[in-house]
């Protein structure tokens, strides 16, 4: 190769800067049989990065249950695909954009939304819903406020513009996220199940086509590389934060879907992390073919870009496709109509190698099989999280009324309306249940009765205290939230956010969470069909709480059967499930008693399934007017949320003898639902008949929530307390 100016010698030192260990670099030398070029080293380093290779997590991910009769494509494709009936498939996935969102909250979150949208429409689906799962640090920090503001604006800015409704999500606060917020974005799309597009390239001599935005120098090598180390030209090579362009994404969605209605596409993949490198390597690798790229043909936004820069750029809104040669003109015309770049940048070969040419030089020539097969795979040591000592008796320091006021006003339970109000949740005209209207968002399929129920869930404080129980709980809660609307849960996507896997305790959290998740997936017939792993989420040695965020999808044959959580007057309230009064790791314990202790509530998966199937049956038989699962904050918080949701009060009865009042009303025992029904006797009888625990806990009506001790609480006052936190925090002038 001709020497180029400003190029560093490739050696072990540079490999180290690129994130490759000495052992990994030795493997590169062995595969290549020579010293690799800078571009080749770049390709190896990104393909073997944790993000692309899953080298620390793969051995554990393989143990997750991924199969069911309704699963069309499980993990391994751009997104998971499940059969939802009527000839349709739902395609969905969740993905993290944690680190960029800390550096530049608006663009980090916005490009996170853009990336996950592409993973879904690249498979032929029209995106119909976005959700998210967000974790932020201590609200007392000014930095947290800035990050929340930017992330919410970024999610709205991108999602609103592309015209995909943002229908659900969750937000937690905890100091462990102070230096490392989590931004997990999920997209759900719908496709004809016989027209799913995959990424495996095929057809010797077929053209490799680049469409979308031009390539710039943004996002090169992500954050793994210090730009200054490149010397005098550091300004030229500094990786900049990627900038999203939702307008181009919208054009790309429409153009791709228009092209997908023809028979022109052989294979297609978006250019996400590691851009042109990962898309070309994965497409050729999966298809068992070779690929030759001519970078002179790549549409470029900046001048004098090198092969290394183009191969590693993470410029947004770009796709790579393999087309039938005789359909090239059809495809070109569609992209020209949408004013998008369209360029033939390569060809499929039979060499089994990726060959990259630029300005007459061969910049890279790597055998694809060894690049994939010899990718590092680590069985990292694990250490179990010690079991927490039982909590023992905890006295009630304040009584029910004061505790309820504290809980519904705390950042983890305060109304999220300030956030939802910035997301367009109705575009598309199919949103049956908007954010806050039901336990899961309900989005109808246009022109049909069929609807999807969608949710994101995880309780990181449970996972931290007991990773296995917490992993199971995250899956169970997603299943429960879908069930509470009347929908049948079908499958999940997971976003595994953990700290440094090289620490045995962290790797142990990961392994145990996977064990718990797997058990729940099996017990609930709720397989994992896609996912994403984000490791090294720690700042200055402080790890985040382990956060395996779960995105759940369920289906309703008739959208009209979906029920929400808001109370109407004149109904009986029935609690389904067993209440022992579990206060360990509860929000009551943290917010009212000031302790973060004890084991989290255990999840009895058999009872979970049993109770949930009973509740869904009652809903589909038309016996239930509103339903809400009991989760953070316990039973009294659940009832309060139902009262506020329907602007209708309730009169509560004392709980059973044998459980202290505060433990009964604020314990976080799992597998429970509150049902608002016309006929409690009928529902209780049906429950007794099948052996599901159920008791009547009160009635609905009036403008007050009357506690079991007779204390009346005005709904207006409860609403003010619940709605105070976000607007007050965000509108406060000066530093928080």
């Amino acid at each position: 190769m001709a020497p180029q100016p400003n190029k560093r010698d490739v050696n072990q030192q540079l490999a180290r800067e690129f994130g490759l260990s000495a052992d990994e670099y030795a493997r590169v030398l062995d595969i290549m049989g020579r010293t690799p070029s800078l571009t080749e080293l770049g390709i190896f380093s990104v393909m073997w990065s944790e993000h692309c290779s899953y080298k620390s997590s793969r051995v554990w991910l393989k143990t997750l249950p991924t199969k069911a009769p309704w699963v069309i494509h499980g993990p391994g494709e751009n997104a998971g695909v499940v059969d939802i009936g009527e000839g349709l498939a739902a395609i969905f996935k969740m993905e993290s954009h944690n680190h960029p969102s800390f550096i530049e909250p608006y663009q980090g979150a916005a490009t996170g939304v853009g990336g996950i949208l592409r993973d879904v429409f690249t498979m032929g689906a029209r995106p119909i819903a976005n959700l998210n799962a967000l974790r932020f640090g201590d609200p007392a920090l000014a930095r947290t406020k800035r990050i929340v503001d930017g992330v919410v604006r970024g999610i709205g800015g991108y999602g609103n513009c592309v015209g995909v409704p943002t229908v659900g999500g969750e937000i937690n606060f905890h100091p462990s996220y102070n230096g490392n917020p989590l931004v997990n974005a999920m997209t759900v799309g719908i496709a004809d199940k016989t027209k799913i597009f995959l990424s495996a390239a095929a057809g010797l001599g077929n053209p490799v086509v680049y469409v979308g935005s031009k390539t710039g120098r943004d996002g090169i090598h992500g954050a793994t590389m210090a730009s200054a180390e490149f010397g005098k030209d550091s300004e030229e090579k500094r990786p900049t934060v990627q900038v999203g362009d939702p307008f181009t994404e919208k054009l790309l969605i429409e153009a791709c879907l228009e092209l997908m209605a023809t028979d022109a596409i052989v294979a297609i993949q978006d250019m996400g992390a590691a851009g042109l490198t990962s898309s070309s390597v994965e497409m050729a690798g999966k298809g068992g073919v070779g690929i030759e790229l001519d970078l002179d043909q790549v549409p470029q936004r900046e001048t004098h870009m090198t092969a290394y820069e183009m191969m590693l750029s993470e410029s947004q809104e770009r796709m790579l496709m393999v087309l039938r040669p005789d359909r090239q003109d059809v495809a070109r015309a569609i992209f020209e109509k949408w004013d998008l770049d369209f360029a033939v940048i390569g060809v499929l070969t039979d060499t089994g190698r990726i060959v990259v040419k630029h300005q007459g030089e061969i910049e890279a020539d790597i055998p694809l099989d060894p690049l994939a097969e010899q990718a590092p795979l680590y069985h990292r040591p694990t250490e179990e999280t010690p079991k927490r000592a039982p909590l023992g008796e905890v006295a009630d320091p304040v009584g029910l009324a004061a505790a309820l006021e504290t809980l519904i006003a705390c950042p983890d339970l305060a109304s999220r309306a300030w956030v939802w109000d910035q997301y367009d949740s109705t575009v598309g005209g199919q949103t049956v249940k908007r954010p806050g209207g039901a336990d899961a968002a309900i989005v109808k399929i246009e022109g049909r009765k069929l609807a999807l129920a969608l949710t994101t869930d995880c309780t990181p404080r449970y996972v931290f205290a007991d990773p296995e129980a917490g992993g199971a709980q995250a899956v169970a809660e997603a299943w429960r939230n879908i069930t509470a609307t009347g929908a049948l849960p079908l499958a999940i996507t997971d976003n595994m956010n953990f700290a440094n896997p090289e620490k045995p305790l962290i790797m142990g959290q990961f392994a145990a969470s996977i064990r718990g998740m797997s058990a729940a997936c099996v017990a609930l017939d709720f397989p994992v069909v896609s996912g994403n792993v984000s490791l090294y989420n720690e700042t200055e040695g402080k790890p985040i709480l382990p956060t395996p965020a779960i995105g759940g999808l369920g289906v309703l044959q008739d959208a009209a059967q979906a029920i929400g959580l808001g109370l109407a007057p004149g109904l009986d309230l029935v609690l389904v499930g067993t209440t022992k009064g579990w206060l360990g790791q509860s929000l009551w314990l943290r917010e009212v008693a000031g302790r973060e202790e004890g084991p989290p509530p255990p999840v009895d998966l058999a009872a979970e399934r049993f109770n949930g199937d009973f509740v869904r049956g009652q809903i589909l038989q038309g016996h239930v007017r509103a339903c809400h699962d009991v989760s953070d904050g316990g039973l009294l918080v659940a009832v309060t949320e139902m009262a506020l949701g329907g602007d209708t009060g309730a009169n509560l009865l004392p709980g059973p003898a044998g459980v202290a009042a505060h433990a009964f009303w604020f314990g976080e025992d799992q597998g429970r639902y509150v049902l608002a029904v016309n006929d409690a006797a009928g529902v209780l009888q049906a429950a007794a008949f099948v052996g599901v625990p159920a008791i009547r806990i009160g009635t609905s009506g009036g403008a007050e929530l009357t506690l079991p001790d007779g204390t009346p609480m005005s709904l207006d006052a409860l609403r003010r307390a619940n709605e105070h936190f976000f607007p007050a925090w965000m509108n406060a002038t000066g530093q928080a």
Binding site: R153, G156, G157, N160, C161, V162, G163, D245, P246, F247, T248, K250, L251, W338, D339, W420, D421, Q422, Y423, D424, S425, T426, V427, G428, G429, Q430, T431, V432, R434, K444, E446, A559, A560
Partner: protein, 230 residues
């Protein structure tokens, strides 16, 4: 009623609008790409919501220069009816077919929620199925919906009874709290001089099906069908 929906690059509520029109008229509207230049033979031209050209430069500014705008002006000059919703309203003001401008929301944040609208007159093709003074609920979703015009223009709009809808409380009062985006005089929608061009920010087209939470927006489309049916 022969209706068409104009699609600019970045428009994203064209399908919502098509569903509303088809629900109320029984006919699928014609979808018109922004490079088309012939809109003859139509009763109603709709410019739907979205982010034409990404809202870059200024909301609606680039769409207002699109090839189809000549045909839209000709349709207006012929006395044809035009409905512009959200971005469509912004495009109509940028094109000079309606007075005033839509500024960034007063709170500087995107607003997605239901609002309540008061019908200021019920004798137009758009409002024949409402009563004057009636209040209806409608979703809204915009970052730039803060209606602005100079006092002379506002006085003239009011004097000529060209305010179509105002943001009000559910009881019909024009309070500041009901006017979330800060629009001048709570104005949510206005008419052209001949009352045949209507621009409004909220999305009645997203509330025409009880499954989606109500049918408050349906009378607007039912009224159009009744007024414009051949």
């Amino acid at each position: 009623m022969k209706a068409a929906i104009v699609v600019f690059p970045g428009i994203n509520r064209e399908r919502d609008m098509a569903i509303a029109l088809e629900t109320c008229s029984g006919q699928k509207p014609r979808m018109v790409w922004h490079k088309e230049t012939d809109l003859s033979g139509l009763d109603l031209v709709v410019i739907p919501g979205g982010f034409s050209y990404g809202d870059y430069l200024r909301c609606g500014a680039m769409a207002a220069q699109s090839p189809v705008m000549g045909a839209i002006r000709a349709h207006a000059a012929r006395g044809g009816h035009i409905l512009g919703v959200c971005n469509g309203f912004q495009i109509l003001t940028e094109a000079g077919l309606l007075p005033g401008a839509l500024l960034r929301n007063a709170g500087l944040r995107f607003l997605s929620m239901d609002c309540h609208l008061r019908v200021e007159r019920a004798d137009t093709a758009f409002t024949g199925h409402y009563q004057t003074g009636a209040v209806f609920r409608s979703p809204m979703a915009h970052g730039d919906g803060n209606y602005f015009a100079d006092d002379g223009t506002l006085d003239r709009l009011e004097g000529e009874n060209r305010v179509a809808f105002r943001y009000v409380t559910p009881a019909g009062e024009t309070t500041a709290a009901a006017n979330r985006n800060g629009s001048a005089r709570n104005i949510a929608g206005i008419y052209s001089e001949n009352l045949r061009v209507l621009g409004l920010m909220p999305h009645p087209e997203d509330l025409v099906d009880p499954l989606m939470g109500g049918t408050d927006g349906k009378p607007l489309f039912d009224g159009l069908v009744a007024a414009l049916a051949a």
